[in-house]
Subunit: 345 residues, 2 copies
DNA sequence: TCGTTTTTCTAGAACGATTTAGAAGATCGA
DNA sequence: TCGATCTTCTAAATCGTTCTAGAAAAACGA
């Protein structure tokens, strides 16, 4: 069973290794009868097809693309937004018979050489919500691996599929401004607050580029409003809940809460419910992404075509026919029952 | 930039390729000064470290383990249960500097040779809720790739980390029987109903082994009860909702609904809410898994240590110190407010 | 029938590393 | 000072394919 290679099969059939290789990879390069004879011999010898590593080495194609996440895996997948992205990416990957290599970025061992980003056999990388200066990106660049980010980089050579964060947030900001809101709490993802108590941040302390940009967009659209930035931890339901609790129980309660992701907004919704507050009447609540649960919850949010985003990233990485390297996807404000006019002072 | 290999670096420094290899892999095999000289040269030449494919070929280690899912990726990840499993697995994988290769099993191309299972460079495989006779399993076996399943196989040679499905379901069944329930609808995952209207199944038509076993366990514990098996599609919130709608709107409404996963049960909860039914009073609702949202919702459920399950699978695959090949994890019935006595007839 | 094209197959060189066995020099105890 | 032991480094084989170039045989057109 072990040690059966192309050569073994070739010898058994009495042909050259090249021919056996062709039997698997280029069936039209040899006669049907011979091909069948080879396959039969392979079956008999217990040969399971060309070795993946050897093939990868020789052909220069690993047959996999890496997916980079910030934070721990669990956080990444607890957001349907991430799942949607992955689903789109997987769709294209499947089409090109390519696998997805998940590469959780544990912040610790990035410096050392023994991390997944350094070692992984991949043809390309999809960079999902990883901030610009991350060391993993440099490693990829060094290795010469094509990468596509979900955030717009400032580097003109970088490929990305993104949305106009500022503009998207501005759409929402205008909506809120029109409703009369001037006191808004923004819930952001932040490592600092993870596990502990919620923290209030200055705009400079907000880590992720996209969060920064969204805040800027909000502020741009509502210049007279006071924006407070609060984080209850990583991007997750519970973080939104904690952050909202902090905001709702504080002395000067805001008239609107914006979660920079729907999961956080839904967490905030839970906090409101517990306090007997009705969204859209007592307090306005809005999110980002438009995940399926947002509709059920009646959450006002900014929709972005996340599955298409995943597909586009996949196409840029895998489809030679696609030459666009930078793609701006459309967004749309979806107004639902969770937003309403600010109460009069 | 391109074409820089170990050899190039070796030549530049004036040492043998072996030494450069050692500089990366066995730093204590050469003097510090030489190692630093080599690293400096590598940096200068733009050498990003040993090529992953070549290393994989020569050393026989791919540095990745595959994760097999049934169905489409999106379904898989929409369940926090799956996410928990993956998180546990990823934890161990990270510890062993190994990546996870996601392999969605599109049912179509399994027969052909060009599918991920056939091609992927992996050292082992974690089989997540894939039914016993699946062709992918045979392919793995042919390739001689060690695999660990989350379902107990009948094959004594197979590795698995599982729960006693029958016993776990029986715990829940006893609870329901004690409460006087004799008319139960069980919500199951089923491909038949996917996308379309809910279907009612006979026990024989239930596909997945674990669903079968759970139903058997329920029936065992409540021999006098009538169990009806309903599916609203794949394992997801919406399927549970659809399935429950079907059951709730039917002529003879059951006194209890059991989702064979919490996500399905939570979907059912939504259907109940819409109809103004209070779980635990008007109707008993129970689930399986005890995902985080179950607690919030007050859902009675059977807890299984899913993250530990993932960890255990990882250890069996990666940790040579672990010799156990079959592991039965404990389960526990968690009674919450969603279950209550059956209404008197 | 003869050159030409097409089909079918092969030899041998990569692909880029790791591994094994061992050589050369340094260190050490007595 | 001498043999033994470490340390540091190397030569050459090997991992299992795929690729390039081309040979031999078959089919074809005129």
């Amino acid at each position: 069973m072990a040690g059966v290679t192309l050569k073994t099969v070739a010898k058994a059939v009495g042909v050259s290794p090249s021919t056996v290789s062709n039997a698997y990879n280029k069936p039209d390069q040899l006669s049907t009868t011979l091909r069948e004879r080879i396959m039969a011999a392979a079956q008999e010898l217990g040969y399971a097809g060309p070795d993946a590593s050897a093939r990868a080495l020789r052909s220069g194609k690993a047959g996999a693309i890496g997916v980079l996440f910030t934070d721990k895996l669990a956080y990444a997948f607890s957001d349907p937004y991430a799942v949607g992205f992955l689903a789109g990416l997987a769709e294209v990957a499947e089409e090109f018979a390519t696998s997805l290599l998940l590469m959780p970025l544990s912040s610790t061992d990035i410096a050392g050489g023994s991390n997944a980003v350094q070692q992984a056999a991949i043809d390309g990388a999809a960079i999902f919500c990883v901030p610009g200066g991350h060391p993993a990106l440099e490693i990829l660049a060094n290795r010469g691996i094509p990468a596509v980010s979900t955030d717009r980089g400032d580097h003109p050579a970088l490929s990305w599929v993104a949305i106009d964060e500022v503009e998207a947030a501005a759409q929402l900001g205008e909506h809120l401004a029109r409703l009369g809101h001037r006191d808004v709490v923004v819930l952001v993802d932040n490592a600092q607050a993870a596990g502990g108590r919620p923290v209030e941040l200055t705009p400079d302390e907000v880590g992720y580029t996209d969060c920064e940009l969204r805040i800027r967009g909000l502020q741009k659209a509502m210049p007279d409003a006071r924006l407070r930035i609060v984080s209850g931890g990583h991007n997750a339901f519970a973080s939104g809940q904690r952050g909202a609790e902090y905001a709702l129980d504080s002395q000067d309660r805001p008239t609107a809460i914006v979660g920079l992701s729907d999961v956080q907004a839904l967490g905030a919704l839970e906090a409101m419910k517990v306090r007997g507050l009705t969204p859209g009447r007592d307090l306005t609540l809005a999110g980002f992404d438009d995940i399926p649960a947002a509709e059920t919850a009646g959450l006002t949010t900014v929709r972005q075509p996340i599955k298409d985003k995943g597909r586009a990233v996949g196409r840029i990485l895998l489809d030679p026919a696609v030459t666009e390297r930078q793609l701006l996807m459309p967004t749309r404000l979806i107004v639902r029952s969770s937003s309403g006019p600010a109460p009069k002072r």
